[in-house]
Amino acid sequence: MFRVTDKPIKLQELVDFVTDPEAGAIATFIGTTRNNNEGRRVIALDYEAYPEMAEKELVRLGEEAKQKWPICRMAIVHRIGPVQITEPSVIIAVSSGHRDAAFAACRFAIEEIKRTVPIWKKEMYEGGEIWIGTQSGQPLPRS
């Protein structure tokens, strides 16, 4: 299961998906929306994706993880659109025979998402908004 969605993500759906009789471990990672960033008070995040390519990149990183570690199943769901403080923006679940592989693949997945998957977050903070990763430009005053 590799997808982007504009609906709230449900952890249990991913856990159910990776549940496997061969697995002795399920590792999960939940990325959540923090109320502060670099001294700014964050009101919400707004995610945008190039959905067809984002899903393709998620599948690719899943295949890469399977080559690196003996994992059973993997699920990644990334949210797009507005995400409120405390809500999950991304959930990853990985099952494996033994825990080391599940932990490692879960960590690999979130790092690869941040590195290669075409998804962008705009931070809405008190006093403005900014596309994260473009900080060398000036923050945009909110109109």
């Binding site: 190039y50 998804i119 990763g133 060398s136």
Partner: protein, 81 residues
């Protein structure tokens, strides 16, 4: 020939458009297309950021030759997670 261009995130906002087709010369590269788009959309370029390039949903280098009906996307720094 014609290619489909899609803008996302900061580039979409700066261009004021998300998707369109663009007539280009045979033999144009991704870099040539980017140069032409900066003429069409003077505010497009974001100073100081590094762009990546995708054709038909795969990352490519800027010297990639374009073909008719390619889908070209200019990818500002990603920030998922």
């Amino acid at each position: 020939m014609k290619v489909k261009v899609k803008f996302f995130a900061i580039l979409r906002e700066r261009a004021g458009t998300a998707e369109f087709t663009k007539e280009i010369k045979q033999g144009s590269t991704v870099a040539d297309l980017w140069a032409a788009l900066q003429q069409d959309y003077p505010k497009l370029a974001v100073p100081g950021i590094r762009l990546l390039y995708a054709v038909n949903r795969d990352y490519v280098t800027p010297d990639r030759l374009l073909e008719d009906c390619d889908e070209v996307v200019f990818i500002p720094p990603v920030s998922g997670g």
